[in-house]
Symmetry: C2
Amino acid sequence: MIVRQAANVLEIMEFFAQVKKPATLAEIADHFGWPRSSTFNLLATLSEKGYLYEPRPRAGFYPTPRWLAMARMISEVEPLPQWTHTLIADLSAETGETASIVAPAGVMAVFIDVVESQAAIRYFATIGHRVPIHATASGRALLLQYSQEERDSVYRKIEFKQYGPSTPISIEAVETELRNSIARGYCQSFADYSRDLAGAAIPLPIGDRRLSVVVAGPEFRIGPKVAEVAALIARTVDRLRPKAAA
Amino acid sequence: MIVRQAANVLEIMEFFAQVKKPATLAEIADHFGWPRSSTFNLLATLSEKGYLYEPRPRAGFYPTPRWLAMARMISEVEPLPQWTHTLIADLSAETGETASIVAPAGVMAVFIDVVESQAAIRYFATIGHRVPIHATASGRALLLQYSQEERDSVYRKIEFKQYGPSTPISIEAVETELRNSIARGYCQSFADYSRDLAGAAIPLPIGDRRLSVVVAGPEFRIGPKVAEVAALIARTVDRLRPKAAA
DNA sequence: CATATAAATTCACATATATGTACGTTTATC
DNA sequence: GATAAACGTACATATATGTGAATTTATATG
């Protein structure tokens, strides 16, 4: 079950992150198609808790810097080491595609850092973006770091769907693909989940955290050179990862 | 009316900002006294939207960097000029008290930047903290920047309460205090709202934004030297504010 | 300045939603 | 390795909550 008003809070914030200017009650209500009275209650709640204010009279609401203060406190705990951002920045620059750091979230994989391609046709992903862990290169690079039991426990919760022609639709199919990935030295995906999208990924354990790096883009650009891209990822990790730490 | 689940989202985030480590469903449910089933729905919603993930298996949930990404996008719009932070940092250092930048939010005033005193006994305020606009030094420094009509419109919405012995409990009382503030050259408050708390504030218009600076602390420390403190605020603003801009 | 139009609030009620209860799964204990 | 305790998940139901309509307040227009 989805908690509607919880989702609405996030949508309002995303709205402000997008329009980047104050908005009145009416504007927000119209934008989402919400009743004004409901919008009023939501805005009042956010204001009362100190997350919204009125920068200038009658010009509407805008989030207070409290969001930033809170997000900073949250993120200063085990932040990703600096070199991982350099890693995906370099990868994106060299390949011209979108590169990301990915972490597990149950049966899904979450993008926790992203550097987007500059190409007109590109993989559009943002921090927080989620994809099925079993049907993506990045996800499988995470699964490779699990024990057999942990994987089994994840499998039990997966709803196998045929997202595309090559989606693995059984536990055995996923396990086979994992074995192939080990043999091959990297994980790959050709439209297993998203149409026309291909990617190469490798595991990226940091401390006791299980992460992965992925480079992804349109099938026609990435397809012919997955192996190259995968090798580049491996080399770049080798170059940037501090030698001392595991 | 307060939208409970909207408030709960904020409380969860504040919880993480405080404990700074992953928490399991059970821990969160117990902490807030929420039923597990409800907590489950909330966490599922936040996860589904990409705001929560599971850093390591079975070690619970933690917010994704998406919060930070969003907060950054929101805050890069008309951020406070750098010098205002220097301003309150200097004021706090020189006075040993808490200094803040404050903005209006209806009948309330919101703290949008804070540098806290280091003293053991101090005014504890955080970004997002809200106080009544008419019953605080910082709030009245905002009201001074309003036209008479704008003030009247605010007055109509105020519920006058006797927060402390000196709280102004009528429109006339507030207007009188404003006139006194103009004559005096700064706004002050002696436990008008919070017990034992005194403060000095002056208006701080920036562009078309109506802000104020306030220095506040325990009555026994601030009380004897409000005038000094107010003068210091004025001098420091003069020193730091760029001459070009109004 | 009066009137019209739009926006913000309030409130009572029907309905969408939070939760008690029960079940399956995982982890801890002996 | 067996048993117990804790944890996570699903669902039906009573109730807390969102909302449509009415009221008040603010802004635009003739």
